[in-house]
């Protein structure tokens, strides 16, 4: 059966399925669901010390506050006082607190404000204990939340010895708050039979279901989790919503009343984990062209007080510490630091961006050391095709399109001529300096934990010819529901408005994986396709028999079914099938082929394929203040054969700017007591509208179907574009180099705030003055 030309079919830039609901204010989020008037509102009491023993907890003033109905501590949890699969995240602290902001108790009151006011009345006495707050302290104390892992291939020690040139360096890479516009929220409605319905803003309904079940001392089949849409997720609603759903469910179970937990922004930012900040230290061996022969890399991340998803996050950091570059002799050591700070978690890229920032810093340092254009050093280290193609984890890169993609972008962005123009500008501009950089992205697609690479879907066709679709993926704005509906419409030859997507619901699709790892449309698109094809085949079989025609002669197109020379409306075929007692409902299932991976040796094929992209960014810095601006960006990104170019462009632009925020303005600041001081948009600065560059050329790589058999040969697009923003960071380094020389550039760490840029400009001036070392030659 061939691809059809239906307006709705896959590949068309149709609008987000909720676009009209969004713009009219009718789209309903978890906090918007009407609840009965006896609903209780919940607020948390939080630890005010980073590490300590709870000596006494006086909650009487909380209980006596106006509007308070009940107060809950660890003792009030009916089942297991834990909300994570690793079993190290207590719902309420017991005995000890491990970070400032950890939840000690919850108060349920008749209003949101009453609960918040009451929560502040608790009197808690602590015996304070020494706290480890950052990576250097954790490394010094060997404080690890998980065992250190090492990836090792070849003989890096020997290769470093024999390398023509060697360099040591380091880079600090900051964390990032998700800053989803909709904060964490869950509402629970107790059922008459002991069951519990929870509306949760979550990327992982099944895990929330499990955790709520355990917390209530009940089973999975007692708990239903529903999520129609989230107001943004970005990884922040993968493991963390379980806490809020558990507490809502506990309150509801204990009181028999509906209960809602909604965090205000400050509590959300203090209580929830973020992107791991990293420290990378390296020694690299290379030749005069900058080709790397050996790399010894140490990655250390701040995991916080518990494991959460830190194991796979750090694994992915290791797996992306090659980015696009062949590393013949390599050792990557990964320390997972335990600190008395909030437990860091999934965030778009899931460790990959930090690993890639490390190797890009290495490449940039090498280029500046050799006074070469960093682009030339990048290209000379690219993976080869048929040779130099083995990753440090022993997977061959079989779908390498880097050369072609880079060449196209280098030309369309006029990288070389602009570099010359920038140098000329800088010559006559002592205060404002410009810089430019091209950085590539190669991102592995699949959950590294092989078992998560499965998905289910459920398709119903009703007798009026309309379709109801459900699948295990969640909608957080990325347009997954739209894409999967397009797949089903395509398979059934229907206009898109005949396919209705419904809320993700654990009672419809069981045992789902998180909507994460960019896998949403790859997995759920395939599962939904399978379900639709099953029903379509039943219809084909019926028609083939009725019309005595070969199945190949039957086509579904534009709401019609063509049977040889006859045509019937889809609706009539459906009615015919109903009358013939043919099932019009089917599940669909998909598991990603080819992947395997040994988590002890860290070898295998953890990824089904790679997604590629590259970006050229030009910036200007103000050398008086360190402030900077993006002047222009050019992106060429590989989404295979796009399922929906409009949604894909949206993911690329949004990912790019989110990455730019991570690497420039988004700075998390803890004081020396472990108190997060940037816990609201007044202090934590995500990109605003003025940060989008005036000139932007965002393009999809054309004629590049996925070489693997994915859903209509598309590629995952959720995470990879975030890392295009490395070009912003390296353009800033380029501008710093133009001001203060190559060594100043290598001193720049992330986030490159105005202060960090000014510090980079100044630090090196001081160092050079001390050593008499002149590092003033043009940095490429």
């Amino acid at each position: 059966m061939s691809r059809k030309s239906t307006e709705a079919s896959a590949g068309k830039p149709v609008k987000h399925e909720s676009a009209q609901l969004h713009v009219t204010g009718r789209a309903r989020y978890t906090d918007d669901i009407p609840l009965p008037p006896n609903t209780l509102h919940v607020a948390f009491g939080l630890s005010t010390v980073a590490h300590g023993r709870i000596v006494a907890m006086d909650l009487a003033p909380v209980r006596e506050a106006p509007g308070v109905v009940a107060v809950f501590t660890a003792e009030d949890v009916p089942g297991d006082n834990n909300y994570s699969p690793a079993h190290d995240d207590p719902i309420f602290a017991e005995g000890h607190v491990h970070f400032l902001g950890q939840q000690l108790f919850a108060v349920a009151a008749t209003s949101y404000q009453a609960a918040r006011k009451a929560a502040r009345l608790a009197k808690i006495d602590y015996e304070e204990l020494p706290a480890i707050l950052d990576i250097p302290s954790a490394l010094a104390a060997e404080s690890y939340v998980l065992p250190t892992r090492t990836l090792h291939r070849g003989d890096p020690a020997a290769a470093l010895e024999t390398a023509p040139r060697r360099l040591r360096g380091q880079i600090a890479i900051g964390g990032q708050d998700h800053f989803y516009l909709e904060g964490q929220v869950a509402a629970a409605l107790p059922q008459d039979d002991g069951g519990m319905i929870v509306w949760s803003s979550t990327q992982h309904p099944s895990e929330v279901q499990h955790m709520v079940g355990h917390a209530l001392g009940r089973h999975c089949h007692d708990v239903v989790i529903q999520c129609r849409r989230m107001g943004g997720g970005f990884g922040g609603k993968e493991s963390q919503p379980a806490l809020f759903a558990c507490v809502a469910a506990i309150v509801a179970a204990r009181t028999g009343r509906p209960a809602k937990v909604r965090l205000d922004r400050d509590d959300d930012m203090v209580m929830t984990g973020k992107r791991h900040d990293f420290l990378a230290e390296y020694e690299v061996g290379f030749d005069e062209q900058g080709r790397i022969s050996a790399l010894d890399l140490m990655l250390a991340s701040r995991c916080g007080y518990s494991a959460d998803l830190s194991a796979p996050v750090n694994d992915r950091a290791m797996f992306h510490a090659d980015n696009c570059y062949y590393l013949e002799h390599v050792r990557i050591v990964s320390h997972r630091c335990r600190t008395n700070t909030v437990s860091n978690t999934a965030f778009r890229g899931f460790g990959g961006p930090q690993g890639m920032m490390a190797i890009e810093a290495v490449i940039d340092d090498v280029a500046r050391h050799l006074a070469l254009d960093p682009l030339d050093v990048r290209r000379i280290n690219y993976y080869g095709i048929g040779e130099r193609d083995l990753t440090p984890y022993w997977m061959r890169v079989e779908d390498n399109i880097l050369e072609d993609l880079t060449t196209q972008l280098e030309e369309s962005s006029a990288y070389r001529t602009r570099r010359e123009a920038i140098a000329a500008f800088n010559e006559g501009s002592p205060v404002i300096k410009r810089g430019i950089a091209l950085t590539p992205v190669k991102f592995g697609i699949s959950f590294t934990a092989t078992q998560f690479n499965q998905a289910g879907a459920l398709v119903h066709i009703y007798t009026d010819g309309t379709v109801l679709l459900n699948h295990g993926g969640t909608e957080m704005g990325q347009g997954l529901y739209t894409k999967v509906a397009q797949v089903v419409a395509e398979e059934l030859g229907l206009p898109l408005d005949r396919v209705r997507v419904s809320a993700t619901d654990t009672s419809k699709i069981p045992n789902t994986s998180a909507t994460a790892a960019s896998s949403g449309s790859d997995l759920n698109g395939k599962a939904a396709q399978a379900a639709a094809r099953t029903i379509r085949q039943r219809l084909v079989d019926l028609l083939a028999e009725r019309y005595r025609i070969a199945p190949e002669g039957i086509r579904f197109d534009d709401g019609m079914v063509h049977i040889g020379d006859d045509s019937l409306p889809f609706k009539d075929v459906v009615t015919m099938a109903y009358n013939a007692r043919v099932s019009l409902s089917s599940t669909g299932f998909y598991r990603t082929p080819k992947i395997h991976y040994d988590k002890d040796s860290l070898r295998g094929r953890p990824f089904f394929y790679f997604a590629y992209g590259a970006a050229v960014t030009e910036v200007a810095i103000d050398t008086l203040t360190g402030e900077h601006r993006m002047l222009r960006v050019d992106v060429l990104h590989d989404v295979g054969r796009s399922l929906n170019p409009a949604l894909d462009i949206g993911q690329i632009e949004g990912g790019f700017l989110q990455g730019a925020g991570w690497l420039t303005s988004e700075e998390l600041h803890w004081d020396d007591q472990g108190s997060l001081k940037t816990h609201a948009p007044s202090t934590y600065k995500i990109p605003a509208v003025g940060d989008w560059p005036r000139e932007a050329h965002i393009r999809l790589l054309e004629n590049a179907p996925n070489r693997e058999e994915t859903i209509f040969r598309s590629k995952a697009v959720g995470e990879p574009p975030l890392m295009l923003a490395m070009s912003v960071f390296h353009a800033l380094r380029d501008a710093v180099a133009a001001t203060s020389g190559p060594r100043a550039a290598t001193a720049l760490s992330a986030p490159a705030t105005p202060e960090a840029v000014l510090r980079a400009l100044e630090t090196v001036t001081a160092t050079d003055a001390e050593t008499g070392d002149v590092a003033a030659e043009a940095g490429a």
């Binding site: 713009v23 789209a27 000139e695």
Partner: protein
């Protein structure tokens, strides 16, 4: 609960909403969502910094309507009394969307959609007030709306294209000014004091300065509320309760902005939007600061005098007011006095105000011949950020020598503060780079800045020095570019809109 006094009355979708028995600190957002079940307006931060709660307020301006975006999350419901409230739900009629909404949908301007109603309302403000808006206007209008999904490009596109759609039936520019709307609002205006008491406290909204002065004199511990862009946060963030709130924003005479001789006088109820429009006429160099000062909804609600009265060490108006030698007109009861701003700030959050005394107006001297002035703001993010450092300069040079110099900084001390030693280093000296270097070196003696999440002490001091250098560079020191902004807008080529087939 018992309540007495006047109900809070406002217009929503053509209907009168009359509210009694709510605490004076109940926010408009809370009321829309919790009481009316109107959940299109969202809470993203409860501090006016993300814009998810943006609504448009219609107010009477003589016989016309005036519409401005504001943040519903920090707006007390009582402070929308006598106004029309417009939310995202108001704009569409059945399935027919307003051009702003249609453009947003057509341009793929929403992803998760949570911020979208706020963007729609900021664009709606622009739609009504600037029919010929260009890209720059769109970006300016959206500075207070955060989106975490899109990268903003499709939203900017929507703003640029919304004018191309056919005129809608409701909420066209004509409809917004319809006689019915004006009459409906006129019918709910108060001639005299509007006040009520509930279990949450008392609220007084006088109509005249005299009435305001006498009420505040009677309740000197009351919270004086103007735009509420700071007081709102005391309620939403600090969960404070107030026994009395005296709301001055409805005192029409305090909205006055006028030139009085060689002084510009800005009344206590004048919004930042209006005040800066007046200031920029006389000091065009303030335009840049104005655009980076908070966001349009905050500037529409917040007052200029409130910024001064608040006296935050990182407030953006005070450095240039100190540099320009502004003064504050104070009043308590019948008693009025004029105080130089120099003498107004006594310490962190401490002002030279008697109990019951308030700022009636700020008086700003108009430019004098030969005077060079500039204000520079430095922050982590260009748009809507709080200054790490804000420096302001007013220097007069005659025959190559400095004859007058006033320098003030925000972010460098517990209050906005002048730099007397740096000023002294300039006075009488030749206008040269060497003089500037000497003056810059004195800043370390003028200030001992703090370190916090916005900047380290060292950065603040370095930047303070460098801004002084910039002032020299831009006033005779160099012809080379000194601003990022100039560069960003001079880029050749038009913005590329992705071609989606």
């Amino acid at each position: 609960m018992s309540a007495n006094g006047t109900p809070i009355r406002f217009i929503l979708d053509g209907e009168l909403v009359s509210v009694t028995d709510v605490p004076p600190t109940m926010t408009l957002l809370e009321y829309l969502r919790e009481h009316l079940g109107r959940t299109g307006t969202k809470e993203g931060c409860a501090e006016g910094d993300c814009g998810a709660c943006t609504v448009v307020l219609g107010e009477l301006d003589g016989d016309a309507m005036r519409y401005r975006s504001i943040n519903a999350c920090i707006r007390f419901l009582a402070a929308v009394d006598g106004k029309e409230v417009v939310t995202a739900e108001s704009l569409s009629k059945g399935e027919a969307m307003h051009p702003v909404q249609q453009a947003m949908a057509d341009c793929h301007g929403s992803q998760c959609g949570f911020c979208t109603p706020g963007f729609v309302m900021s664009l709606f403000d622009l739609y009504l007030n600037k029919p010929d808006a260009d890209r720059g206007d769109v970006v300016t209008a959206l500075a207070g709306n955060l989106c975490r999904c899109t990268g903003y490009r499709p939203i900017i596109d929507a703003g640029c294209r919304m004018g191309d759609y056919p005129t809608p039936e409701t909420w066209s520019r004509q409809d917004a000014q319809s006689r019915e709307r004006v009459e409906r609002l006129k019918a709910i205006q108060h001639e005299g004091l509007m006040s009520f008491s509930s279990s949450g406290g008392s609220f007084f909204a006088p109509r005249t300065t005299a009435e305001l002065a006498s009420i505040y004199d009677a309740y000197p511990d009351a919270v004086l509320l103007a735009g509420g862009t700071d007081v709102g946060l005391w309620a939403t963030k600090q969960l404070r309760e107030f026994r009395e709130i005296v709301h001055l924003a409805d005192v029409a005479e305090l909205r006055r902005i006028r030139v009085d001789g060689d002084t510009l006088e800005i009344g206590a109820a004048a919004s930042l939007t209006d005040a800066y429009a007046g200031l920029c006429e006389h000091y065009p160099a303030l335009q840049e600061l104005y655009h980076r000062f908070a966001s349009p909804p905050i500037r529409n609600a917040g007052t200029f005098c409130g910024n001064v009265a608040n006296g935050s060490p990182i407030g953006d108006s005070m450095p240039f007011l100190l540099a320009l030698n502004a003064s504050v007109a104070l009043r308590r009861g019948e008693h009025q006095r004029l105080l130089p701003l120099d003498d107004f700030y006594l310490g962190y959050q401490k002002k030279a105000l008697e109990p019951g005394e308030f700022i009636e107006a700020v008086r700003v001297p108009l430019p004098s011949p030969g005077q060079m002035t500039a204000t520079y703001k430095v922050s982590k993010r260009i748009d809507q950020d709080i200054s790490a450092v804000c420096g302001a300069y007013a220097v007069t040079v005659e025959q190559g020598r400095v004859t007058a110099a006033r320098i003030a900084y925000g972010g460098m001390a517990a209050t906005p503060l002048r730099a007397p030693r740096a000023e002294a280093a300039l006075l009488g000296q030749p206008w040269s780079a060497a003089t500037m270097d000497k003056a810059a070196a004195m800043l370390a003696h003028d200030y001992t800045p703090i370190a916090d999440m916005r900047a380290s002490a060292g950065y603040r001091l370095t930047v303070a020095r460098n801004l002084l250098k910039r002032f020299f560079l831009e006033h005779g020191g160099t012809t080379a570019p000194t601003r990022l902004d100039a560069l960003a807008t001079d880029m050749e080529g038009t913005e590329h809109v992705p071609q989606i087939h």
